[in-house]
């Protein structure tokens, strides 16, 4: 435990003076802010120039303006889709930077095991992603408060928050594949490429009805972004599939780091 703690402290230290940390928070904050802007414009359609694309889009939306739809449609579904990008970016940075900075060799022959060093990175990954999620939720409440949204009901809000965090956890769990690609390709470009491909597939596969078989589509489907019908298709084994996919990514990450030749 002491070794893991030391590895964790060094991972925290490595994040010092890094603007990338704040950039991820600013980027992720766009979800509640843009959601808030949409709510505001739906509330005040006269502010949107007529015949603009935004005006057409707003007229097509039948979104009710209240806390429930704001937190559910914009915050939770945003986390389910944009979370794959944001959390993937965090994982690719954390695991790929040792190769991009060429510091990986200094981590290989130490009294702290290679596995513990990677586990410390995974802990940082979890904390970073959860911090992003919590900051977005807090910002969402602030934005909703500023907009004076109606329909605050504790049981509804509590249920949405539960779905929000489960969506975040499901999305985070898939970061293990990004970490593997970062180590395998020795940097953060390849995992970002993988991320783009996986994101496209995660959007496409639910449309052909197989989303509940595809782990990267499951968080989006779970949070309702693909509609109630697809959500109802999610069964226990869908979550188990996601869990085993995540574990396989973790095992591959650790095994690659431990056993491959580090040239």
């Amino acid at each position: 435990m002491n070794e893991l703690k030391r590895a964790f402290i060094t991972e925290l230290l490595k994040l010092k003076h890094l603007s990338i940390v704040w950039i991820t928070f600013v980027a992720f904050a766009m979800i509640p802010i843009m959601g808030g802007v949409m709510m505001f414009l739906i509330q005040n359609p006269e502010l949107v120039p007529k015949s603009s694309i935004l005006s057409i889009k707003i007229s097509m939306l039948s979104t009710p303006v209240n806390w429930g739809s704001y937190l559910s449609l914009y915050l939770t579904q945003g986390a389910g889709v944009a979370g794959i990008i944001a959390f993937g970016f965090v994982a690719s940075y954390l695991f790929g930077r040792e190769y991009s900075d060429h510091t990986y060799r200094d981590l290989l022959s130490l009294p702290i095991s290679r596995t513990k060093i990677l586990n410390a990175k995974f802990i940082i990954y979890i904390i970073w992603c959860l911090s992003l999620a919590i900051s977005d939720l807090i910002l969402g409440f602030i934005v909703g408060g500023i907009l004076n949204l109606p329909g605050w009901e504790y049981n509804v809000i509590f249920e949405i928050i539960k779905i929000y965090f489960i969506t975040v956890l499901l999305t985070m769990a898939l970061g293990t594949w990004i970490s593997f690609f970062a180590l395998w390709a020795k940097g953060y470009l390849a995992p970002l490429g993988f991320l783009i491909v996986i994101l496209m597939l995660a959007q496409f596969i639910p449309y052909i009805g197989w989303g509940h078989y595809f782990p990267w589509s499951i968080p989006g489907i779970y949070c309702g972004a693909a509609g109630e019908e697809l959500k109802n298709r999610l069964k226990e084994w869908s979550y188990l599939l996601l869990f085993f996919t995540s574990m396989l990514g973790y095992i591959l990450t650790i095994s690659w780091w431990k056993y491959t030749d580090q040239t």
Partner: protein
């Protein structure tokens, strides 16, 4: 107990044999200079010694323990492999702190000491991305030399250092060696290795082609007596008459390889003076490690 033992080390990368059946035994306190051309297999060997890559064949023991089986003595090993790199966003001090934690050290004074020893005091708050190559190399060495080590493995540690820096590091390594640290060092600055190493290993095309102690090197390096007189042909005749085999080199100077003549050049000088052939110059030329290395690999290449 030997500090490094490597037996029949071979590393194959697809069709390329980077290291071919190398065996090494390094005693405590030795400074082992590892010499070879680029691509000879030096770095691959060093990475195998550090467990960074797995040998295709063979075994590495450090302090008598197999490094592939739950080896737990990495804290006794400091290393610097090829060009040093550090976290660019962190200062010199913070970079060292990272390895202070990872090496499970508790005494914070070690950080101050190593910063001072490596002349990094003025740069301790400078971010690594703003350091010169020489200071980056010092930082890399600081990470390796923070605490008392039993074994130090250095791949090109002098790279990027200015002449004063090279001398400082050489003296520091000598001091470490006196305190009992075994040092395995590769460098392309062969004159530095010659001043430092107690044993030299020459690797060529993946094979360890020569291994010799510094006193053996002294015996094996080529020595010759070089003489120049006003009449070299006449001097040659005199030397032939005295039974000393000699010849004229491409610079029109007399070269003598005879051991007796090399060990007593004053006798030759006396003969020449007595014959009215007073030498303009007379000196013993001794091959340096660089020349010895080149001669050795050329003879290996046939």
């Amino acid at each position: 107990m030997k500090i490094i033992e490597a037996y029949n080390l071979t590393k194959r990368f697809k069709d390329l044999i980077a290291v071919n059946n190398i065996s090494l035994e390094i005693e405590p306190g030795e400074i082992y200079g590892f010499v070879g051309l680029n691509g000879a297999g030096k770095t691959t060997t060093i990475r195998m010694l550090l467990g960074m890559i797995k040998p295709t064949q063979g075994i590495v023991l450090l302090f008598g323990k197999d490094i592939s089986k739950n080896f737990d003595l990495w804290n006794d090993v400091g290393y610097l492999v090829e060009t040093t790199h550090s976290y660019p966003n962190l200062s010199v001090r913070e970079n060292i702190e990272v390895y202070h934690h990872l090496r499970k050290l508790t005494d914070k004074k070690l950080i101050d000491d190593v910063i001072e020893r490596l002349g990094l005091s003025d740069y301790q708050d400078t971010k690594a991305k703003h350091l010169s190559l020489g200071n980056l190399q010092r930082l890399g060495l600081a990470k390796a030399l923070m605490h008392e080590l039993k074994l130090l493995i250095l791949d090109e540690p002098m790279m990027g250092l200015d002449p004063a820096g090279i001398i400082e590091i050489r003296e520091m390594l000598k001091e470490l060696s006196k305190r009992g640290t075994t040092i395995f060092i590769s460098s392309h600055i062969l004159s530095e290795l010659a001043k430092l190493a107690t044993k030299i290993g020459i690797i060529h095309k993946g094979k360890l082609i020569k291994e010799l102690k510094s006193d053996e090197l002294e015996q094996q390096v080529m020595k010759k007596l070089i003489i120049e007189t006003r009449n070299n042909l006449k001097a040659l005749e005199l030397l032939k008459h005295k039974g000393i085999p000699s010849g004229i080199n491409d610079k029109n100077m007399i070269e003598i390889y005879d051991h007796q003549a090399i060990s007593e050049p004053e006798v030759i000088c006396e003969w020449l003076v007595n014959a009215g052939l007073t030498p303009r110059s007379l000196y013993v030329f001794e091959e340096d490690l660089e020349a010895f290395f080149i001669r050795t690999i050329r003879s290996e290449d046939g």
